[in-house]
Symmetry: C2
Subunit: 376 residues, 2 copies
Amino acid sequence: MRIAVDGMGGDYAPQAIVEGAVLAAQEYNTPIVLVGDEAHLERELDRLQARKLPISVCHAAEVVHMDEAPGMALRRKRFSSIRVAIELMRSGEVQAVVSAGNTGAALAASTMILKPLRGVDRPAIATLLPTQKGFSVLVDVGANVDCKSTQLFQFGIMGSVFAKYVLGKPTPSVGLLAIGEEDTKGNDVTREAFSLLKQSNLNFIGNVEGKLFFRGLADVVVCDGFIGNIALKMCEGLAEMYHQSLKAGLTRTLWRRLVAWLIRPVLNDIRRRVDAAEYGGAPLLGINGTCIIGHGSSTPKAIKNAIHMAKRFIEERVSERIQEDIERHSDIQNEWLVRRRRIWRQIRNHMTFRSERDAGETGDVDDNPQSSLPPL
Amino acid sequence: MRIAVDGMGGDYAPQAIVEGAVLAAQEYNTPIVLVGDEAHLERELDRLQARKLPISVCHAAEVVHMDEAPGMALRRKRFSSIRVAIELMRSGEVQAVVSAGNTGAALAASTMILKPLRGVDRPAIATLLPTQKGFSVLVDVGANVDCKSTQLFQFGIMGSVFAKYVLGKPTPSVGLLAIGEEDTKGNDVTREAFSLLKQSNLNFIGNVEGKLFFRGLADVVVCDGFIGNIALKMCEGLAEMYHQSLKAGLTRTLWRRLVAWLIRPVLNDIRRRVDAAEYGGAPLLGINGTCIIGHGSSTPKAIKNAIHMAKRFIEERVSERIQEDIERHSDIQNEWLVRRRRIWRQIRNHMTFRSERDAGETGDVDDNPQSSLPPL
């Protein structure tokens, strides 16, 4: 087993990344390939006196920066660290990739080069969030906007496999993020996804309200990537505001500083619970391979934990199991698609009928060149 | 000016509601009509020795409970407190309604009985959330799911009027909740809404990422009600988890309890900042009248503040100003709708063309009775 780590991705790259790789190599003895500017990475390894560890370096001359448009950057920068890392996975030289760089670029490279698993419409990003009971998986948090119901259905299947094999929850409960607990509460897409998930053999517990998410009601919570991303980022923003308020309040006077020092275990405990570094990374579910995306501000510890997660993915053959589970559920989805197609055909025919009648009756053909064609 | 207060709505009704009304009558000397079970409300007023205050009681025999389906409940319970209160507003006996009861029922009653303002597609619920800079308005937080771009556009206009006249921000900045700051980041609906808002004479600052919301980047942030509700509830859930963790940590030992007592001003300050009671209520924007919806768990203070907000709405003629501003922006919206209709017509004609061709070529007419009709 070898794991490629994008040495140039992240706000504190390459220092924090190399340090994280060194920690992981020390702790798990996993062979690691650092991808990026060779000279720079070698220098970091020397600085950390890590020459005896199973870490090699693979040169990549370019970097996709955090603010670059992913598609364009990938096409232009054929030798960017993330692209080279993903290519290493395709050629079988490594079994997983960890990157804390541009999320969109990691997603685009994985989708373009590795391709989604057979039967998976679009890969999704899963993330771990702390709850009152431990932690839950939220999927998708930004890979896809305007998701279809079948995609949400697949997110449920993929999230469930992740929770079962990587997080060790025997029968993970799966919920659908919605605005009420009743079956009918939600938007068009979630209502459709609800009926699909209900037919599955997942441990589907129905709709989960936003407020109940943090009570740990479900192990896996499914949502559209647009919604998941907004919810995730708003929570990050709220946590930031909380910390700021606490910090400002507790450092205002010398006396308060002293008191804050006295309760620092409590504050540290809370900080640790909401700290992204503890969970390390967000896996990309549904691709032919393993890709763990780290937070842009990943610390060495976060990188180490992301490498650990990648290791678990490989050991537990998560991608294969996702593939199997998607295939096991393909009947439900196909039946749904056939029904849907039939409805669409009816709508189309209805529109045909109406537009023919409208054209005949009102001559409403102003700005349409095709309507002057004779009926075939 | 008279304000009706739904005496029976809310988790702590009628006690907390009557106490709140009494506080408001004492502080603002506003005439208040308490709507609900007469005997019960009179008893509460006696208990509070509030007979000399300008508070009257209007009897309503029924109550819509928090967990009832709004539409059904309103039809069946013609004498429910919320319905009677809204009817009082329609007949002009009061100028505003405050309710901490079933949000869906207050929304449905307002929409059905008072009707939306001319030019407003659907009313929206706005809420105030604390930020690092003060507070911002999030609209919509649950009145509408599957919003169209023109609705988001109208939410921006309505939210802006609210922020300007009720919150006293001279030129409120308006942002669109999205997953990136670039113009193109978002889903189909937000991208369309972006171009509409850009043409308006609002102080539109573009997309606002979830994380930046709590940094107070925009005074008004616009989103689909499904997304707004989920984001709001998740933030509530996170805040709850935070408080739980702090409380658990700070009460574990006697020593820690002592320390917590020493820093209670800091903790109280934070609690106050995120406390819904401080803001009182969420106004329903875009109806013919004024309706302020309180949180289900409203305290007397929250009710008092909601009544204050209702008072500001009436004094500042917010509904009229919304109407004016919607009309002022109607050109942008109409132009958009015409363009959209043209595109739809083209798609329809294209589909007509295709389906005629398909039918002619492949005889694909299996499950459609209409396709056997001769062309008109």
